[in-house]
């Protein structure tokens, strides 16, 4: 079996890390895998040791592509990683050239993303032609009508969250598979006191860790977390927040500038540093609430958060719907700073409760958030699709 993944960005991204792990596990099962990225094929090695070929779009017309086809055999199935426009255009053309079917992977509510980024409703965007959409949206996102047609003409849909299957036709095969944590990293590693010292964290201070970028769709949520940290300190509970990632939009409230001393920003860090950063945390928080964006996604950081054995606070949406509140995690219902503060006021002084919830969350991760069983399901889905197509 030769699977060709076509994606919209290089692999050193949240989405790319998923492809990387899926591809490596498929190779372990004897599947030939080629991953086609628009550019930046060399960045695959920043994620780990790839056991598959990465090519970029320009390779398709050159010798390298012929060699790959010669070695791996003709492509049996294209897995379009999201229906975003650059993927759609490429996959439509390749499927025709290679004479093979394709399936589409969904990781976000594409319509909500486009609306948030353009400030226009889907109904408004549907009336625009492709040239106008090129100008307004760009190839890195989905075009309202085109992406639906693209899914309809495919053979199936895979999704990170069950609600994403709402976007496929009823009679089309669909598969939900959850991402896993990377087993090559020691997510349960113990806290490094030297690093804690270097970061200037006092003995009595509690640590929260938030790993991830800040962008238009989550800026308010992350601001709430910052504010909660400031409130906890104001109320006499010493807490530091360690951040990684880039801020693509400014945080909304002024709490960050008022109380900078509570925050340690590590910026964008190599993937391999992540386990020891997560290990610094007493509690991990995925801020937010149930809304049209969060309901349809699977935050990439959550598998590693749960695998770390630390207690996790998260909204009662997406994966939060499958966890037991107060036992495997703590669910945030309002998701605002006050609720985060109230929950942490209870949790931070209670080490036994932290340990209990952390351990149960870790059990959940070991049972449900591993790549191998997910890829096993995916493999059988491929088989079913190819069988249907035969």
């Amino acid at each position: 079996m030769h699977i060709l993944f076509v994606t919209y960005n290089h692999l050193d991204t949240n989405s790319g890390i998923h492809i990387f792990n899926v591809a490596n596990h498929l190779v372990n099962k004897g599947v030939h895998v080629t991953v086609c990225v628009p550019y930046g094929k060399e960045k695959s090695s920043a994620v780990g040791q790839p056991r598959f070929e990465t090519i970029d779009f320009s390779d398709i017309q050159y010798e390298r592509w012929s060699n790959i086809l010669e070695t791996n055999g003709s492509v049996d199935l294209i897995h379009a990683w999201t229906p975003r426009e650059v993927v759609r255009r490429t996959v439509v053309k390749l499927a025709e050239q290679l004479g093979c079917p394709y399936i589409v992977h969904m990781e976000d509510n594409e319509e909500r993303l486009v609306e948030a980024n353009t400030g226009r409703t889907i109904a408004e965007l549907e009336n625009l032609d492709e040239q106008q959409l090129d100008q307004l949206i760009g190839l890195g996102m989905s075009y309202p009508k085109q992406y639906r047609e693209f899914i309809q003409h495919g053979r199936g849909v895979t999704a990170l969250m069950d609600k994403l299957l709402e976007f496929k036709p009823k009679d089309m095969p669909g598969l939900v598979f959850w991402p896993g944590y990377e087993e090559d990293f020691d997510w349960g590693s113990s806290m490094n006191p030297g690093l804690r010292y270097q970061l200037g964290i006092g003995d009595v201070e509690c640590v929260l860790v938030y790993t991830g970028n800040v962008h238009a769709t989550n800026a308010h949520e992350v601001s709430s977390l910052y504010l909660a940290v400031a409130l906890l300190n104001q109320r006499g509970i010493p807490v530091k927040l360690i951040r990684t990632g880039n801020d693509f939009v400014p945080l909304e409230n002024s709490s960050f500038t008022i109380t900078k001393k509570y925050f340690i920003n590590l910026g964008f860090v190599p993937r391999s540093w992540m386990p020891q950063i997560v290990a610094l945390a007493d509690v991990l928080v995925q801020p937010g609430k149930a809304d049209a964006f969060n309901e349809y996604r699977f935050p990439s950081k959550l598998p590693e958060y749960f695998a770390s054995g630390k207690p996790v606070l998260l909204p009662p949406t997406n994966i939060g719907r499958f966890l037991v509140d107060g036992q495997e995690c703590i669910l945030l219902h309002e998701g605002d700073a006050l609720e985060i503060t109230l929950q942490l006021e209870q949790l931070l002084p209670n080490k036994a409760l932290q340990q209990k919830i952390g351990a149960r969350g870790q059990e959940f991760a070991h049972k449900n958030l591993q790549w191998e069983p997910s890829v096993e399901k995916l493999y059988h889905f491929y088989e079913q699709i190819l069988l249907n197509d035969a």
């Binding site: 970029d56 238009a216 360690i242």
Partner: protein
């Protein structure tokens, strides 16, 4: 002896630690020194933000040396750097820990205290960049010299700074006569001293080269230094914020360009049009800004603001913007505002259900050009399901009647006209026209006014989406005989209390037809204010009233009309208005009398009938500040209040003794709060000790000035759907301190009209008349204990402020109204709020703030406090 920098490519490394600093220009030289000296031990005195220190560490990490590094600083600042908090060190630690933590340590200490951590003769490279006076630099050098190894090198920064009491230059002049040295002048000057007896061979070219060669070396390092500095901007804070936005734009742009380019390369798509590179880039950049930061989004506003601020910052001669309360404020709906009018949208919606709207026009001797324009404005509607119902009220002008007959003869089924034999007045004519209507709703249009083309479409859209609505009204402006628009009037959302005092609803008014019939239409007795009187009666039967914050109606401004000026029809209007309100008060059982406002025409003052002191009112007074102010506050309550049944609960801090003669009074009780209690906790404690069912919270720096303040506030709180009331608050000089809160104004929320004279009318009565607001402040707020308890009291996570606004919004969430009452002003001194409280308030009520304050029209600027347009 020559030096080839290409032998040391480490000099070309871009520094990873990027914060603004003159030292950034020396980072290539620092990295070069690490490469050439390969020190066992490096120490820096005065690490501050870590620009220099991290450059040394970066070189150590890159070259994989076994160097141990120590950065020493108190991180408290000095008179030269300024004093600062722990955030500088926290930020540095975040950058430093994982990158250099395995070989480097940051020591928070004075230099002298840290000295004992180091053995004598062990430091191979010492960088001195501490306090920059002559004495301090000399002291640091002499004190630490013993720690430097035989091959040691000392760096000294700021050797060319002569300002203030900087004295490193003087120390440098002395020391360079005693040791071999190398120096550069850029970046405030950096000097290198070879203090050890075994001078490392690598630095020989810096010490022994000819002056000509040294000049070339200095120039080379300076070029590299400038290159490094290029990454950090002089106006860092603003630029950094702007960059974060531009970064995403450019990153996404680059991503998309790359996507497009690769697609092109595989010949999947047609290639683009070639253009000049500069034009292309500019076009792409602006395109990207439009694409990724769409107009009206928060990110775009931030981008525009940041960009604007930077441009302003770069204009050195620009006058500083100052803010002071206007001395002679003017809030009249201004003339000649054509250019400032918000653009009316021209949408074309597709309706699944389209209610028939009957447009009602009463006509009397209307000049043909105006009548024609009015009718044409109906015909021009983008919404098609309308009918026009005209009643001629016995016009004596031949041309008017002839024109209407022509319309009738044109046999347009959508237009119906009736003719009265006698002139019965506008109310009766309107009622006659309504009799012609068959629509689900009727829209009232005066005979010389005009609808905007989208008026009925906007109304229909709202009615379809909210089928329960009985009444819809919109914003309006004026149109003169030359068809020029002016004086836009932007109204609040439905505000029944405000409407009792001010005839603000006006045009366009659309009412469900059966409701008009049920109420018997317009009352001829009130012709002139017939629509206002009708609305009073209508509001007694329905609360399903909706405001569209868009101008959908042009009111004709001609001599003799009220539109021309509020005095055009004399004081008859105000008399009728007062009469209508008195009838309304009778019908609704409100125990009060309406009178014309003493200062402002077309405003009504409502005086409550005498209220007996039945209910116990509990006044909570949390004490902050000086006891003199507290004494004044209590004294003003005791001496002025004519309401007798009240108690004062003073919440004081811990064991503090307050001894004031005024406290010896039966009305007063004292409660002690824990010293750690914040203000909201004190208030909750106070309420828990009260006996009354009506609570007033009062700031101790407030002074009562009206004897009937408790009666008046109680009167307005008496309405069951009112949750809290607050009076007008004035500064001691009579200017407005607080006249109600607007959500989103200058941030989270702020009082409106601050600084205006208390005698001012405000915007269409918004200062002079009681009205609905989003919140009133805790400086003086009256509410029911029952409502307070159902909400769980004040939120104690707010420390000094915003707990009051949070409380009001929670009341509003329960469907209660909050009222601002100007009738009984109180005087107070201003206090500042805790910024964290503001952030918490914004976080909790973000969606409400984003939605806009319902009582402050969305067309007003949120950067000003006085009802001005953007």
């Amino acid at each position: 002896m020559s030096l080839n920098l290409f032998d040391h490519p480490i000099c070309l490394e871009t520094p990873l630690r990027r914060v603004p600093s003159t030292w950034i220009q020396h980072t290539p030289f620092a990295m070069f020194l690490i490469d050439i000296l390969r020190p066992q031990l490096f120490v820096e005195l005065g690490t501050f933000q870590g620009v220099s220190y991290c450059a040394f560490c970066q070189a150590v990490a890159k070259l994989q040396l076994n160097t141990h590094c120590f950065g020493i600083d108190t991180w408290e600042g000095d008179p030269h750097t300024g004093f600062y908090g722990q955030d500088i060190l926290s930020d540095l630690r975040g950058h430093h820990a994982l990158r250099y933590g395995s070989f480097s340590n940051l020591i928070q200490s004075t230099f002298d205290e840290a000295q004992s951590n180091f053995e004598d003769g062990t430091i191979d490279l010492l960088h001195i960049d501490g306090y920059h006076t002559y004495d301090a630099a000399k002291h640091d050098f002499e004190n630490w010299l013993v720690k430097v190894s035989d091959r040691g090198v000392v760096l000294v920064h700021d050797i060319h700074v002569h300002e203030r009491d900087f004295g490193v230059w003087k120390f440098w002049q002395e020391i360079k006569t005693q040791y071999p040295t190398f120096e550069v002048a850029y970046g405030c000057g950096l000097g290198m001293i070879a203090v050890g007896k075994d001078i490392p061979p690598g630095i020989r070219p810096l010490l022994d080269s000819s002056e000509e060669e040294l000049k070339k070396i200095r120039e080379a390092f300076e070029i590299l230094g400038k290159r490094a500095e290029h990454n950090v901007d002089a106006i860092y804070p603003l630029q950094n914020q702007l960059k974060s936005l531009e970064h995403i734009v450019l990153q996404e742009q680059a991503h998309n360009e790359a996507l497009q380019a690769h697609l092109d390369r595989v010949s999947l798509f047609e290639s683009g049009i070639e253009q000049s590179m500069g034009f292309w880039l500019l076009k792409k950049y602006h395109g990207a800004i439009e694409r990724f930061l769409p107009k009206q989004t928060r990110q775009r506003k931030f981008y525009d603001t940041s960009r604007h601020l930077i441009i302003q910052t770069l204009k050195p001669m620009r006058n500083l913007m100052t803010e002071s309360p206007p001395v002679t404020p003017s809030l009249e709906m201004k003339e000649n505002s054509n250019t400032k009018l918000p653009q009316t949208e021209q949408p074309t919606r597709h309706f699944t259900k389209s209610p028939l709207i009957s447009v009602i026009i009463p006509v009397f001797n209307t000049p043909i050009q105006f009548l024609e324009a009015a009718i044409q404005s109906v015909k021009n509607q983008t919404y098609s399901n309308w009918e026009l119902c005209i009643c001629d009220d016995g016009s004596s002008k031949y041309e008017t009647v002839e024109y209407l007959k022509q319309i009738l003869d044109a046999s347009n089924a959508k237009i119906r006209v009736s003719f009265s034999k006698t002139n019965e007045g506008i109310s009766q004519a309107t009622n006659e026209a309504v009799k012609l209507a068959s629509g689900e709703y009727v829209a009232f249009l005066d005979h010389d006014d005009e609808l905007t083309p989208n008026a009925l479409e906007e109304v229909a859209d709202v009615l379809v989406q909210n089928p329960q609505l009985d009444i819809v009204y919109s914003d309006q402006d004026k149109i003169d005989a030359g068809n020029n628009f002016s004086e836009p009037f932007f109204k609040p959302d439905w505000s029944p209390e405000f409407f009792r005092h001010v005839m603000y609803v006006g045009h366009l008014l659309v009412v469900r037809r059966p409701l008009v019939q049920q109420l018997g239409g317009f009352d001829s007795h009130y012709s002139g204010i017939q629509d206002y009187e009708f609305m009073l009666r209508a509001s007694e039967t329905t609360s399903h009233i909706f405001h569209i914050p868009k101008i959908l109606y042009h009111w004709r401004k001609i001599p003799g009309s009220v539109a021309m000026g509020i005095d055009e029809k004399g004081d008859g209007i105000t008399k009728l208005q007062t009469e209508a309100v008195n009838e309304h008060l009778k019908r609704t059982g409100i125990q009060a009398i309406a009178e014309p406002h003493p200062r402002h025409p077309h405003r009504v003052a409502i005086k409550p009938n005498s209220i007996e002191s039945n209910s116990l009112i509990s006044i909570i007074l949390p004490i902050q500040g000086n006891s003199l102010a507290v004494g004044r506050c209590i004294d003003s309550i005791l001496s002025l209040s004519t309401y007798e049944n009240y108690e004062i609960v003073i919440v004081k801090e811990g064991l503090i003794k307050i001894e004031l003669p005024v406290l010896a009074n039966d009305h007063i009780r004292m409660v002690s709060a824990d010293e750690k209690c914040n203000l909201s906790q004190k208030l909750n404690l106070g309420v828990s000790r009260t006996s009354g069912e009506i609570i007033v919270i009062l700031n101790s720096d407030v002074k009562v000035t009206a004897s009937n303040w408790l009666q008046t506030l109680s009167f307005y709180l008496n309405a069951p759907d009112v949750g809290a009331v607050g009076p007008l608050l004035l500064y001691p000089d009579g200017r407005v301190y607080h006249a109600g809160v607007v959500l989103g104004l200058r941030g989270a929320a702020n009082p409106v009209l601050q600084g205006y004279s208390y005698e001012h009318d405000g915007y269409a009565g918004s200062l002079s008349s009681p009205r609905e607001v989003s919140a009133v402040p805790a400086d003086c707020m009256m509410f029911r204990k029952q409502d307070y308890q159902s909400l769980g009291g004040f939120n104690e996570y707010f420390v000094d402020g915003y707990y009051d606004l949070d409380f009001c919004l929670r009341l509003r969430k329960q469907g209660k109204r909050i009222l601002y009452i100007p009738d009984v002003p109180l005087v107070k001194n201003k206090v500042e709020n805790n910024n964290l409280d503001a952030a918490l308030f914004t976080d909790r009520w973000n969606e409400w703030i984003e939605a806009g304050d319902p009582y402050y029209n969305r067309n007003f600027s949120l950067t000003r406090k006085d009802y001005e347009l953007e």
